[in-house]
Amino acid sequence: MYGTAAAEASHLDAISTGPGKVTPLRPAARELTEQDQADEQLALAVARAQTGDKAAFAQIYRSQHRRVYALCVRLLGDRQLAEELTQDAFIKAWQQLHSFRGEAKFSTWLHRVTANAVISYQRKHSPWLRWLKKGSGDDEIPESPMHESPGEARDLEAAIAKLPVRARQVFVLMDIEGYSHDETAAMLGIAEGTSKAQLFRARELLRAMLA
Protein backbone atom coordinates (compact mmCIF):
# COMPACT_ATOMS: atom_id res chain seq x y z
CA MET A 1 0.00 0.00 0.00
CA TYR A 2 1.29 3.43 -0.84
CA GLY A 3 0.43 4.75 2.65
CA THR A 4 2.69 2.20 4.29
CA ALA A 5 5.45 2.97 1.79
CA ALA A 6 5.15 6.66 2.62
CA ALA A 7 5.46 5.90 6.33
CA GLU A 8 8.55 3.78 5.69
CA ALA A 9 10.13 6.50 3.54
CA SER A 10 9.51 9.04 6.29
CA HIS A 11 11.16 6.73 8.83
CA LEU A 12 14.23 6.22 6.61
CA ASP A 13 14.65 9.97 6.25
CA ALA A 14 14.73 10.35 10.04
CA ILE A 15 17.46 7.70 10.37
CA SER A 16 19.59 9.18 7.64
CA THR A 17 19.66 12.56 9.30
CA GLY A 18 21.05 11.09 12.49
CA PRO A 19 20.18 11.76 16.11
CA GLY A 20 19.69 15.37 17.03
CA LYS A 21 19.90 16.56 13.43
CA VAL A 22 16.86 17.98 11.73
CA THR A 23 18.31 18.62 8.28
CA PRO A 24 15.78 17.05 5.97
CA LEU A 25 16.99 15.20 2.89
CA ARG A 26 13.73 15.99 1.16
CA PRO A 27 12.19 19.12 2.70
CA ALA A 28 8.97 18.78 0.77
CA ALA A 29 8.45 15.22 1.98
CA ARG A 30 9.33 16.05 5.57
CA GLU A 31 6.65 18.64 6.13
CA LEU A 32 3.59 16.51 5.82
CA THR A 33 0.54 18.59 5.10
CA GLU A 34 -2.80 17.82 6.65
CA GLN A 35 -3.84 16.37 3.32
CA ASP A 36 -0.80 14.04 3.26
CA GLN A 37 -1.60 12.83 6.75
CA ALA A 38 -5.24 12.33 5.85
CA ASP A 39 -4.20 10.39 2.72
CA GLU A 40 -1.91 8.20 4.78
CA GLN A 41 -4.60 7.52 7.37
CA LEU A 42 -7.03 6.72 4.60
CA ALA A 43 -4.57 4.30 2.99
CA LEU A 44 -4.09 2.51 6.31
CA ALA A 45 -7.84 2.36 6.88
CA VAL A 46 -8.32 0.91 3.38
CA ALA A 47 -5.69 -1.75 4.05
CA ARG A 48 -7.43 -2.69 7.30
CA ALA A 49 -10.88 -2.62 5.72
CA GLN A 50 -9.64 -4.97 3.00
CA THR A 51 -9.02 -7.55 5.72
CA GLY A 52 -12.67 -7.24 6.78
CA ASP A 53 -12.26 -4.58 9.47
CA LYS A 54 -15.63 -2.82 9.56
CA ALA A 55 -14.43 -0.17 12.01
CA ALA A 56 -11.80 0.82 9.45
CA PHE A 57 -14.48 1.00 6.78
CA ALA A 58 -16.53 3.26 9.08
CA GLN A 59 -13.47 5.51 9.26
CA ILE A 60 -13.30 5.55 5.45
CA TYR A 61 -16.98 6.46 5.35
CA ARG A 62 -16.49 9.35 7.77
CA SER A 63 -13.67 10.82 5.71
CA GLN A 64 -15.23 10.29 2.28
CA HIS A 65 -18.99 10.42 2.53
CA ARG A 66 -19.38 14.16 1.94
CA ARG A 67 -17.51 13.99 -1.36
CA VAL A 68 -19.40 10.88 -2.39
CA TYR A 69 -22.67 12.53 -1.45
CA ALA A 70 -21.72 15.65 -3.45
CA LEU A 71 -21.10 13.51 -6.51
CA CYS A 72 -24.45 11.74 -6.05
CA VAL A 73 -26.30 15.04 -5.60
CA ARG A 74 -24.78 16.46 -8.78
CA LEU A 75 -25.39 13.36 -10.87
CA LEU A 76 -28.96 12.92 -9.62
CA GLY A 77 -30.11 16.50 -9.01
CA ASP A 78 -32.04 15.21 -6.01
CA ARG A 79 -30.65 15.41 -2.48
CA GLN A 80 -32.95 12.81 -0.92
CA LEU A 81 -32.26 10.25 -3.62
CA ALA A 82 -28.56 11.10 -3.38
CA GLU A 83 -28.58 9.99 0.26
CA GLU A 84 -29.88 6.55 -0.75
CA LEU A 85 -27.36 6.26 -3.57
CA THR A 86 -24.53 7.33 -1.24
CA GLN A 87 -25.44 4.40 1.00
CA ASP A 88 -25.64 2.14 -2.02
CA ALA A 89 -22.22 3.31 -3.22
CA PHE A 90 -20.58 2.56 0.14
CA ILE A 91 -22.20 -0.88 0.27
CA LYS A 92 -20.89 -1.61 -3.24
CA ALA A 93 -17.47 -0.26 -2.25
CA TRP A 94 -17.41 -2.66 0.72
CA GLN A 95 -18.38 -5.55 -1.55
CA GLN A 96 -15.75 -4.64 -4.15
CA LEU A 97 -13.01 -3.54 -1.76
CA HIS A 98 -10.92 -6.62 -2.56
CA SER A 99 -10.62 -5.40 -6.17
CA PHE A 100 -8.88 -2.16 -5.11
CA ARG A 101 -5.18 -2.70 -5.79
CA GLY A 102 -3.85 0.74 -4.89
CA GLU A 103 -2.93 1.55 -8.50
CA ALA A 104 -4.91 4.80 -8.26
CA LYS A 105 -5.91 6.91 -5.25
CA PHE A 106 -8.62 5.29 -3.19
CA SER A 107 -10.83 8.37 -3.54
CA THR A 108 -10.59 8.05 -7.35
CA TRP A 109 -11.62 4.40 -7.13
CA LEU A 110 -14.45 5.21 -4.72
CA HIS A 111 -15.77 7.96 -7.01
CA ARG A 112 -15.74 5.53 -9.94
CA VAL A 113 -17.72 2.99 -7.88
CA THR A 114 -20.15 5.77 -6.91
CA ALA A 115 -20.57 7.07 -10.45
CA ASN A 116 -21.21 3.55 -11.73
CA ALA A 117 -23.78 2.94 -8.97
CA VAL A 118 -25.65 6.15 -9.83
CA ILE A 119 -25.50 5.58 -13.59
CA SER A 120 -26.76 2.05 -13.09
CA TYR A 121 -29.61 3.37 -10.96
CA GLN A 122 -30.49 6.04 -13.53
CA ARG A 123 -30.45 3.44 -16.29
CA LYS A 124 -32.84 1.21 -14.34
CA HIS A 125 -35.14 4.00 -13.18
CA SER A 126 -35.04 6.26 -16.19
CA PRO A 127 -38.80 6.19 -16.98
CA TRP A 128 -39.62 7.00 -13.36
CA LEU A 129 -37.18 9.87 -13.28
CA ARG A 130 -38.66 11.28 -16.47
CA TRP A 131 -42.14 10.99 -15.06
CA LEU A 132 -41.08 12.64 -11.78
CA LYS A 133 -39.33 15.43 -13.64
CA LYS A 134 -42.25 15.75 -16.03
CA GLY A 135 -40.39 15.51 -19.28
CA SER A 136 -36.88 16.65 -18.55
CA GLY A 137 -35.51 13.36 -19.89
CA ASP A 138 -32.96 12.69 -22.56
CA ASP A 139 -35.48 12.84 -25.37
CA GLU A 140 -36.87 16.16 -24.26
CA ILE A 141 -33.83 18.33 -23.76
CA PRO A 142 -34.99 21.94 -23.74
CA GLU A 143 -33.38 24.44 -26.08
CA SER A 144 -33.69 27.23 -23.52
CA PRO A 145 -32.81 27.30 -19.81
CA MET A 146 -35.29 25.48 -17.62
CA HIS A 147 -35.51 27.95 -14.74
CA GLU A 148 -38.51 30.20 -14.70
CA SER A 149 -37.61 32.98 -12.31
CA PRO A 150 -34.48 35.11 -12.88
CA GLY A 151 -31.77 34.56 -10.30
CA GLU A 152 -32.96 31.10 -9.31
CA ALA A 153 -29.98 29.51 -10.98
CA ARG A 154 -27.38 32.02 -9.95
CA ASP A 155 -25.85 29.10 -8.05
CA LEU A 156 -24.02 26.54 -10.20
CA GLU A 157 -25.20 23.76 -7.89
CA ALA A 158 -28.86 24.62 -8.55
CA ALA A 159 -28.21 25.05 -12.26
CA ILE A 160 -26.61 21.59 -12.54
CA ALA A 161 -29.69 20.07 -10.91
CA LYS A 162 -31.84 21.63 -13.62
CA LEU A 163 -29.90 20.08 -16.49
CA PRO A 164 -31.42 17.19 -18.44
CA VAL A 165 -30.23 13.82 -17.17
CA ARG A 166 -27.74 12.93 -19.90
CA ALA A 167 -26.29 16.44 -20.14
CA ARG A 168 -25.95 16.53 -16.36
CA GLN A 169 -24.22 13.13 -16.28
CA VAL A 170 -21.68 14.18 -18.91
CA PHE A 171 -21.07 17.61 -17.35
CA VAL A 172 -20.53 16.21 -13.84
CA LEU A 173 -18.29 13.38 -14.99
CA MET A 174 -16.17 15.59 -17.25
CA ASP A 175 -16.13 19.14 -15.88
CA ILE A 176 -16.35 18.27 -12.18
CA GLU A 177 -14.89 14.79 -11.87
CA GLY A 178 -12.33 15.22 -14.65
CA TYR A 179 -13.02 12.10 -16.68
CA SER A 180 -12.09 12.19 -20.38
CA HIS A 181 -14.60 11.89 -23.22
CA ASP A 182 -13.76 8.24 -23.86
CA GLU A 183 -13.98 7.35 -20.15
CA THR A 184 -17.30 9.19 -19.83
CA ALA A 185 -18.68 7.59 -22.99
CA ALA A 186 -17.67 4.13 -21.74
CA MET A 187 -19.25 4.69 -18.31
CA LEU A 188 -22.51 5.93 -19.80
CA GLY A 189 -22.57 3.45 -22.69
CA ILE A 190 -22.74 6.18 -25.32
CA ALA A 191 -20.62 7.22 -28.31
CA GLU A 192 -17.77 9.65 -27.74
CA GLY A 193 -19.44 12.06 -30.18
CA THR A 194 -22.60 11.98 -28.07
CA SER A 195 -20.53 12.77 -24.99
CA LYS A 196 -19.04 15.81 -26.74
CA ALA A 197 -22.45 17.01 -27.92
CA GLN A 198 -23.95 16.60 -24.45
CA LEU A 199 -21.07 18.47 -22.81
CA PHE A 200 -21.49 21.34 -25.25
CA ARG A 201 -25.24 21.38 -24.63
CA ALA A 202 -24.77 21.27 -20.84
CA ARG A 203 -22.33 24.17 -20.86
CA GLU A 204 -24.61 26.25 -23.09
CA LEU A 205 -27.60 25.58 -20.85
CA LEU A 206 -25.60 26.43 -17.72
CA ARG A 207 -24.25 29.65 -19.22
CA ALA A 208 -27.74 30.73 -20.12
CA MET A 209 -29.06 29.82 -16.67
CA LEU A 210 -26.26 31.63 -14.86
CA ALA A 211 -26.23 34.71 -17.07
Binding site: Y61, E83, T86, Q87, I91, E177
Partner: protein, 171 residues
Protein backbone atom coordinates in the same frame (compact mmCIF):
# COMPACT_ATOMS: atom_id res chain seq x y z
CA UNK B 1 -11.64 12.69 -7.95
CA UNK B 2 -9.74 13.21 -11.20
CA UNK B 3 -8.38 16.60 -12.12
CA UNK B 4 -10.82 18.36 -14.47
CA UNK B 5 -9.48 19.19 -17.92
CA UNK B 6 -9.31 22.92 -17.24
CA UNK B 7 -7.52 23.88 -20.44
CA UNK B 8 -10.64 23.20 -22.48
CA UNK B 9 -13.04 24.90 -20.09
CA UNK B 10 -14.21 28.43 -20.84
CA UNK B 11 -13.25 31.16 -18.37
CA UNK B 12 -16.78 31.72 -17.05
CA UNK B 13 -17.14 28.00 -16.30
CA UNK B 14 -13.79 27.80 -14.52
CA UNK B 15 -14.85 30.65 -12.25
CA UNK B 16 -18.14 28.93 -11.54
CA UNK B 17 -16.47 25.59 -10.84
CA UNK B 18 -14.15 27.30 -8.35
CA UNK B 19 -17.20 28.24 -6.31
CA UNK B 20 -18.39 24.65 -6.18
CA UNK B 21 -17.74 22.96 -2.85
CA UNK B 22 -16.04 19.55 -3.16
CA UNK B 23 -18.13 18.33 -0.23
CA UNK B 24 -21.81 18.39 0.66
CA UNK B 25 -23.40 17.12 3.85
CA UNK B 26 -26.37 14.77 3.83
CA UNK B 27 -29.34 15.72 5.99
CA UNK B 28 -29.03 12.59 8.16
CA UNK B 29 -26.48 10.06 9.33
CA UNK B 30 -26.24 7.48 6.54
CA UNK B 31 -23.84 5.13 8.32
CA UNK B 32 -26.31 3.06 10.46
CA UNK B 33 -28.08 1.73 7.35
CA UNK B 34 -24.77 1.02 5.62
CA UNK B 35 -23.45 -0.78 8.72
CA UNK B 36 -26.63 -2.84 8.90
CA UNK B 37 -26.27 -3.86 5.26
CA UNK B 38 -22.60 -4.82 5.42
CA UNK B 39 -23.21 -6.77 8.64
CA UNK B 40 -25.95 -8.72 6.89
CA UNK B 41 -23.87 -9.44 3.81
CA UNK B 42 -22.15 -12.68 4.76
CA UNK B 43 -25.53 -14.37 5.16
CA UNK B 44 -26.79 -12.95 1.89
CA UNK B 45 -23.72 -14.08 0.03
CA UNK B 46 -23.65 -17.46 1.69
CA UNK B 47 -27.30 -18.30 1.10
CA UNK B 48 -27.41 -18.17 -2.72
CA UNK B 49 -24.18 -20.15 -2.86
CA UNK B 50 -25.63 -22.75 -0.51
CA UNK B 51 -28.80 -22.95 -2.58
CA UNK B 52 -26.77 -23.25 -5.77
CA UNK B 53 -24.61 -25.94 -4.17
CA UNK B 54 -27.62 -27.92 -2.98
CA UNK B 55 -29.22 -27.68 -6.42
CA UNK B 56 -25.97 -28.86 -7.98
CA UNK B 57 -25.71 -31.77 -5.52
CA UNK B 58 -29.34 -32.70 -6.20
CA UNK B 59 -28.82 -32.53 -9.95
CA UNK B 60 -25.62 -34.57 -9.78
CA UNK B 61 -27.18 -37.17 -7.50
CA UNK B 62 -30.15 -37.31 -9.89
CA UNK B 63 -27.86 -37.94 -12.85
CA UNK B 64 -25.86 -40.47 -10.82
CA UNK B 65 -29.04 -42.26 -9.73
CA UNK B 66 -30.32 -42.31 -13.29
CA UNK B 67 -27.03 -43.74 -14.54
CA UNK B 68 -27.07 -46.33 -11.76
CA UNK B 69 -30.65 -47.18 -12.62
CA UNK B 70 -29.78 -47.53 -16.31
CA UNK B 71 -26.74 -49.62 -15.49
CA UNK B 72 -28.75 -51.77 -13.11
CA UNK B 73 -31.44 -52.21 -15.75
CA UNK B 74 -28.80 -53.22 -18.25
CA UNK B 75 -27.12 -55.59 -15.78
CA UNK B 76 -30.52 -57.01 -14.87
CA UNK B 77 -31.32 -57.67 -18.53
CA UNK B 78 -27.99 -59.42 -19.09
CA UNK B 79 -28.51 -61.53 -15.95
CA UNK B 80 -32.01 -62.47 -17.11
CA UNK B 81 -30.72 -63.46 -20.54
CA UNK B 82 -27.93 -65.56 -18.99
CA UNK B 83 -30.43 -67.35 -16.74
CA UNK B 84 -32.73 -68.01 -19.67
CA UNK B 85 -29.88 -69.39 -21.78
CA UNK B 86 -28.91 -71.71 -18.96
CA UNK B 87 -32.52 -72.90 -18.74
CA UNK B 88 -32.65 -73.59 -22.50
CA UNK B 89 -29.21 -75.19 -22.71
CA UNK B 90 -29.50 -77.19 -19.50
CA UNK B 91 -31.24 -80.31 -21.01
CA UNK B 92 -28.62 -80.51 -23.76
CA UNK B 93 -25.46 -79.46 -21.94
CA UNK B 94 -24.47 -82.86 -20.53
CA UNK B 95 -24.80 -84.57 -23.92
CA UNK B 96 -22.96 -81.72 -25.70
CA UNK B 97 -20.03 -81.83 -23.28
CA UNK B 98 -19.87 -85.60 -23.50
CA UNK B 99 -19.96 -85.68 -27.32
CA UNK B 100 -17.43 -82.81 -27.53
CA UNK B 101 -15.03 -84.92 -25.46
CA UNK B 102 -15.68 -88.07 -27.53
CA UNK B 103 -15.44 -86.28 -30.86
CA UNK B 104 -11.66 -86.70 -31.42
CA UNK B 105 -12.07 -90.50 -30.97
CA UNK B 106 -15.14 -90.64 -33.21
CA UNK B 107 -13.37 -88.56 -35.88
CA UNK B 108 -10.46 -90.97 -35.90
CA UNK B 109 -12.87 -93.84 -36.60
CA UNK B 110 -14.61 -92.01 -39.44
CA UNK B 111 -13.43 -91.83 -42.96
CA UNK B 112 -11.95 -88.33 -43.58
CA UNK B 113 -14.73 -87.26 -45.95
CA UNK B 114 -17.49 -88.06 -43.41
CA UNK B 115 -15.48 -86.45 -40.60
CA UNK B 116 -15.10 -83.30 -42.67
CA UNK B 117 -18.85 -83.17 -43.36
CA UNK B 118 -19.61 -83.63 -39.64
CA UNK B 119 -17.13 -80.87 -38.68
CA UNK B 120 -18.58 -78.50 -41.28
CA UNK B 121 -22.09 -79.14 -39.87
CA UNK B 122 -20.87 -78.62 -36.29
CA UNK B 123 -19.18 -75.40 -37.37
CA UNK B 124 -22.43 -74.12 -38.97
CA UNK B 125 -24.35 -75.08 -35.83
CA UNK B 126 -21.69 -73.37 -33.67
CA UNK B 127 -22.04 -70.11 -35.67
CA UNK B 128 -25.84 -70.29 -35.38
CA UNK B 129 -25.52 -70.87 -31.62
CA UNK B 130 -23.35 -67.73 -31.17
CA UNK B 131 -25.77 -65.57 -33.16
CA UNK B 132 -28.72 -66.88 -31.17
CA UNK B 133 -26.95 -66.15 -27.85
CA UNK B 134 -26.47 -62.50 -28.95
CA UNK B 135 -30.06 -62.24 -30.14
CA UNK B 136 -31.43 -63.69 -26.90
CA UNK B 137 -29.36 -61.24 -24.80
CA UNK B 138 -31.16 -58.41 -26.59
CA UNK B 139 -34.58 -60.06 -26.73
CA UNK B 140 -34.70 -62.73 -24.04
CA UNK B 141 -38.51 -62.88 -24.08
CA UNK B 142 -38.78 -63.68 -27.78
CA UNK B 143 -40.32 -67.21 -27.96
CA UNK B 144 -39.23 -67.71 -31.59
CA UNK B 145 -35.59 -67.15 -30.65
CA UNK B 146 -35.93 -69.50 -27.69
CA UNK B 147 -37.39 -72.17 -29.97
CA UNK B 148 -34.63 -71.68 -32.54
CA UNK B 149 -32.02 -72.06 -29.81
CA UNK B 150 -33.59 -75.37 -28.68
CA UNK B 151 -33.71 -76.63 -32.26
CA UNK B 152 -30.07 -75.66 -32.84
CA UNK B 153 -28.92 -77.45 -29.71
CA UNK B 154 -31.00 -80.52 -30.63
CA UNK B 155 -29.49 -80.46 -34.12
CA UNK B 156 -25.98 -80.40 -32.64
CA UNK B 157 -26.77 -83.50 -30.58
CA UNK B 158 -28.32 -85.12 -33.63
CA UNK B 159 -25.16 -84.52 -35.70
CA UNK B 160 -23.03 -86.01 -32.93
CA UNK B 161 -25.37 -89.04 -32.77
CA UNK B 162 -25.16 -89.55 -36.54
CA UNK B 163 -21.38 -89.28 -36.33
CA UNK B 164 -21.33 -91.75 -33.44
CA UNK B 165 -23.40 -94.28 -35.41
CA UNK B 166 -21.21 -93.81 -38.47
CA UNK B 167 -18.07 -94.38 -36.42
CA UNK B 168 -19.50 -97.66 -35.04
CA UNK B 169 -20.32 -98.84 -38.57
CA UNK B 170 -16.79 -97.93 -39.63
CA UNK B 171 -15.29 -99.94 -36.74
Amino acid sequence: MNQPVNSEQPEWLRKQLDTLSPELSPSRDLWPDIAQQINRQPKQRWLPMAVAASVLVSALSGVFTWQMYQQRQSEQAIANAERLLQQIESPYSQARVSYAEQWPTMRANLDPETAAIVERNLQIIGEAHKELVKALQKQPDDPALQQLMRQTLAKEIEVYQVAENASRVSI
